[in-house]
Each structure stands twice: as structure tokens, then as C-alpha cells.
Amino acid sequence: MTKVTKEELLSVADRAMLALTDEEANLFTEDLATFIGYADKLNELDLENVVPMTHALQQINVMREDVERNVLDRDEMLKSVKEHENGEIKVPTILS
């Protein structure tokens, strides 16, 4: 099985902005190693000259006219926001 350390997993969690308990970190370290092991299967393929497929349908330059139109109502949208003031989303102080 591919080796993954707990430190590596915690570094991934840090990038994913996800706090983990110690128990979770251990569980996910194991899972990540299993997951990476899948790549061994893909290594059996000769992919040298294969173009990556990013999408099921190849649609190019889907554009629409740049027309001003009614968008969603700000007051309505702010109903889903935890804290807001004067039409802006409120978050804790970043700089002290």
C-alpha cells in the first residue's frame, strides 16, 4: 500500500481549511493511502498520446450577449446570511 503519513494528511487538511480530530486524521490517513493506490491501476495504461477528457460534451465558447438584466434581490439573498449590516456580510475582525 502506498505510504502516506499523518503529517501529509494534516497538511492537505490545512489546505482544505478543515479542522480534524485526531481520530479523523488517523482514519483519513488510511483512506488517502488506499485512494492513492488506485493510481497503480491507471499506471497500467499507456496514456502518452491520449488527450485528457475534461468534459463529456465538447462545447466551445458558449457565450451570451452582455445585456443588463434583473438579477437576484440583495435583501432576499441576505436572508441566508448569518450576520449582515448595511447590505454587507459581517465577519469577525481580521486585523486587530
Binding site: 479523523e24 491501476k41 477528457m53 448569518k82
Partner: protein, 487 residues
């Protein structure tokens, strides 16, 4: 016999002749939900007051203005946004999320005159195949309440199988419509990627997700897809291709049609009961004049690893928007912005969601991208090429929709690889973006089995033609779980 056991045509006839009002039908639907859902647990929320008000309004519409689905009840998977109705994606993260707009498919259901009854349970953010990872409840299989309904559209499939609603919408990223449809003995279609607008769908893996119908019969399925399909300028990935009249293809005539049966889909890992049900189904199709032969989709074994790299990468990217700041859950313990992000996500996401985020973040990291994500996208090209080759010779491809019947609740294999292998029959279809349906094709120990019929891009009409012919020649779709009959 309840009203909801009647066919769509019978219901429309009652409505047209004024022997039944839409309000009465809606009231009966809520009575069914009240009687049945305590056991089945398919709904996350219902919207009785609004639905009855809408039903009364629809009753005023002249009969000549009504289409085939007018006035009929529908349930919506709770990862499809509904204006003014909570949309949770079965996650604590969105427990109180009240969308300010309707998904395009919901607008289309409204345009068709359907009455939305409520929101249906799923695996959290559609990640799972049992509906057990929902943050709110575990949906039960109507055929045996000790078993799961499958997932992630488990609520949708169970609600239809239990007779709570005749129509439901699900979503399918790697089998999430077809596998629960198979487990619950109903009809579930994953349309071609791009056939149905994804605007307003809470994304799991954007290049794989597709919304589709779950119903009791193939004809009802065709009618519901007809209502929701088509180009949408709000979704740049939706196709401008014309939508055919699906019902016109339900002729029953499949003489001379060519069916491919991939040997890779009939091998080890597919249970004997499922395999035998497929072979029996092929005999039925042969008796109707179709021909079949064994084919090979040589890259099938690479589809599953490719699927997991791609879907996890896209999921981690999509789920990065849930940061506790704009909307959704916010940790009360967080003292600064950094803690808002980390603690909100830690407290509101379930284990499976965290796992996918971590796997996806790893896959997309600098230094790993080429080894995993890019390699998976190349393998995806080969998997799609297999289908393109096959469809140059065959009209449809057939397999089981799931290698087994529904698992027991808490009975899923714990080993992560074994669990993922259950997706082997469905994930290649999403990678290639082709359409596929599951129709009931047998039973094993009282639990349903599903037959998967796969078609070429945008050829849902041929799938429906074959599925309907098969359905009319068999009686599996007429069998109902005891709970549906109120027993």
C-alpha cells in the same frame, strides 16, 4: 386502491372529467405521505400549505390548456434548489438554507403544471450509495425496511416505490439515480450529460452530475424527462440539441435492434441473481425480435479509479464555497476568520464529505495533479472511446444496474475499496456522459433487481423504446411492496 396507484392516464381522465380535483389529489398525496413516511423516511421536508394553494389555482386552469403531467404530484431531491423552500443537500451545512430562486428543472415542473410535494432525502451532498450519510435521517427501502433504498437519490426512489408520489427528481453523478431505482424496483433515468439543465443543482462533480426522473413506469419516465429536458441559457453545459418526442418512441417494436452485452459487466463481482436476471431479460428482448451478442469495453477496469479521482477533485473544489461566511452553517466557537472556515467546515460536514474533500484536495495539489487528476482525465477519454466504438455497432448496451440487491442498513462493506466496487456498473456511463436507465427486472429474496439499458449520446428515445418493450413483456413493474398497499 388509492388514487396514487392509478396510472397517469387514469388520473388525467379523472381530472379532465371533473371526477377529481387537483386539490383532492394533492390532499390524498399528503395523506399518503403522513401514513407512509414515518416508516420509509423519504422526505426531509414537505410543503403542504403552498402545495394545496397551488393545487387550487391549477384547478381553475381550463382542461384544454393542460398537458399530460398537469396537476400531478412530484417530489424533488433536496440538492435541487427551490425558492422559499429549505434546500439542505442533507447536510448540517445547509440546514437553514432558503434559496431565493428555483432551479431550472423546478421552473419546468411548474410550467408543466405539476405540484411539488416536498424535498427528498439523499446522502449528504449526494456522496454515497445508501442514503445513510444524510445528516437528518436514514431512508428505508419500501420492500424491506431493514434495508437501504440505495443512494444517493434514495429518498426519491423510496418515495416512488412506496407510492407516496408517482414522480420524483433525482441526480446521478456515478449511479445515484440508477442504483436506488434498481434497489427500490422503480424506473430511473440518467439522461445524457447536458440534456437537462443543472442550473440550481447543488454541485457534487460538475462534469459528471445530471438531473433525471424516477418513476413507476417507463412511459411516466419519458413524460417527466420531456418536461425537464432542453437547452437553458443559464447552464452553459446544457445542450442546444432538439428534444425528441419520447412518448412517440414507445411503440414496443424493437425488431432487428442490436444489443451489446459487455463481458466486463457480467464478470466477477456481479452477483449470480443479478447476472441471471440480465440473461433472462435478454431472452425476453430476443423473443421481441432484438439480437444480442457479447462485446468488450476493454477499459472498464480503469473507469472506477478514474471516476474517484475526477469526482473527488471536482467535489473538493465545489465544496470550497461552504466557508461559514456567506451562507450556511457558521461555528459559534470561531474567534477569527480563519477559525470560521476551519471550524464551520469541521462541525457541519459529515465524515464522507470530509473524506472526499481531503482526497480531492490532495489530487489537485501541486505535484500530484499530473499523477492523479490528469491521468484520470486521460483514462476517461479511453473509457468514453469504448462506448463510442460500441455504439457504432449496437443500438443499446445492457447490464445489471447493480451487482447486488439492496444492502442491510449498516450492512455495507466497511472496506472502502469493496464499497466503491459496487459502482463498477454505473460510473463509466457518467464518465462518458451517455444516458442510461434502470428498469425492474426481477427479485432476489423479496428485493428488486434492476436492468441497466445504456444508449448513445442524446439517444434517450432508443433507451425508452427498448425499456418500454421490455416492461410491457414482463410484470416486474406491476409488483408493489406491501407498504404501498397500506399493509
Amino acid at each position: 386502491m388509492t388514487l396514487l396507484n392509478k396510472t397517469t392516464a387514469e388520473l388525467q381522465s379523472l381530472l379532465h372529467n371533473k371526477e377529481l380535483t387537483i386539490k383532492e389529489l394533492t390532499e390524498e398525496t399528503f395523506a399518503r405521505v403522513a401514513n407512509t413516511d414515518e416508516a420509509v423516511q423519504a422526505f426531509i421536508s414537505t410543503n403542504e400549505t403552498e402545495a394545496l394553494k397551488r393545487a387550487e389555482e391549477l384547478d381553475n386552469e381550463p382542461v384544454e390548456n393542460r398537458g399530460p403531467l398537469f396537476g400531478l404530484p412530484v417530489g424533488i431531491k433536496d440538492n435541487i434548489v427551490t425558492k422559499g423552500i429549505t434546500t439542505t443537500a442533507a447536510s448540517r451545512m445547509l440546514e437553514d438554507f432558503m434559496p431565493v430562486y428555483d432551479a431550472t428543472v423546478v421552473e419546468k415542473l411548474n410550467d408543466a403544471g405539476m405540484v411539488s410535494i416536498g424535498k427528498l432525502n439523499l446522502d449528504e451532498f449526494a456522496m454515497g450509495s445508501t442514503t445513510e450519510t444524510s445528516a437528518f435521517k436514514t431512508t428505508r427501502n419500501p420492500w424491506n425496511l431493514d434495508h437501504v433504498p440505495g443512494g444517493s437519490s434514495g429518498g426519491s426512489a423510496a418515495a416512488v416505490a412506496a407510492g407516496e408520489v408517482p414522480f420524483a427528481l433525482g441526480t446521478d453523478t456515478g449511479g445515484s439515480i440508477r442504483q436506488p431505482a434498481a434497489f427500490c424496483g422503480v424506473v430511473g433515468m440518467k439522461p445524457t450529460y447536458g440534456r437537462v439543465s443543472r442550473y440550481g443543482l447543488i454541485a457534487l462533480a460538475s462534469s459528471l452530475d445530471q438531473i433525471g426522473p424516477i418513476t413507476r413506469t417507463v412511459e411516466e419516465n419519458a413524460l417527466l424527462l420531456q418536461a425537464i429536458a432542453g437547452h437553458d441559457e443559464k447552464d452553459s453545459s446544457s445542450s442546444p440539441k432538439e428534444v425528441p418526442n419520447y412518448k412517440a418512441h414507445l411503440t414496443g417494436d424493437i425488431k432487428g435492434m442490436k444489443i451489446g452485452v459487455p463481458k466486463e459487466y457480467m464478470g466477477e463481482g456481479v452477483g449470480e441473481d443479478a447476472k441471471n436476471a440480465v440473461l433472462e431479460a435478454l431472452k425476453v428482448l430476443e423473443s421481441l425480435g432484438a439480437e444480442w451478442e457479447e462485446i468488450s469495453l476493454p477499459h472498464s477496469a480503469y473507469a472506477l479509479p478514474a471516476y474517484y479521482f475526477i469526482s473527488s477533485a471536482e467535489a473538493s473544489s465545489n465544496l470550497s464555497r461552504y466557508d461559514g461566511v456567506h451562507y450556511g452553517y457558521r461555528s459559534e466557537d470561531a474567534k477569527n476568520l480563519d477559525e470560521i472556515y476551519r471550524k464551520s467546515r469541521a462541525e457541519a460536514f459529515g465524515t464522507d464529505v470530509k473524506r472526499r474533500i481531503l482526497l480531492g484536495t490532495y489530487t489537485l495539489s501541486a505535484g500530484h495533479y499530473d499523477d492523479y487528476y490528469k491521468k484520470a482525465q486521460k483514462a476517461r477519454m479511453l473509457v468514453a472511446g469504448d462506448f463510442a466504438n460500441a455504439f457504432s455497432k449496437y443500438d443499446v448496451i445492457i447490464s445489471a444496474a447493480s451487482p447486488t440487491t439492496a444492502y442491510k442498513i449498516d450492512g455495507e462493506p466497511e472496506d472502502i475499496v469493496t464499497k466503491y466496487m459496487a459502482d463498477i456498473l454505473t460510473t463509466p456511463i457518467n464518465l462518458a456522459g451517455v444516458p442510461a436507465i434502470s428498469v425492474p427486472c426481477g427479485f432476489s429474496n423479496g428485493l428488486p433487481l434492476g436492468l441497466q439499458i445504456i444508449g448513445n449520446h442524446f439517444d434517450e428515445a432508443t433507451i425508452y423504446k427498448v425499456a418500454h418493450a421490455y416492461e410491457q413483456a414482463t410484470d416486474f413493474h406491476t409488483r408493489t411492496p406491501a407498504i404501498r398497499e397500506g399493509k
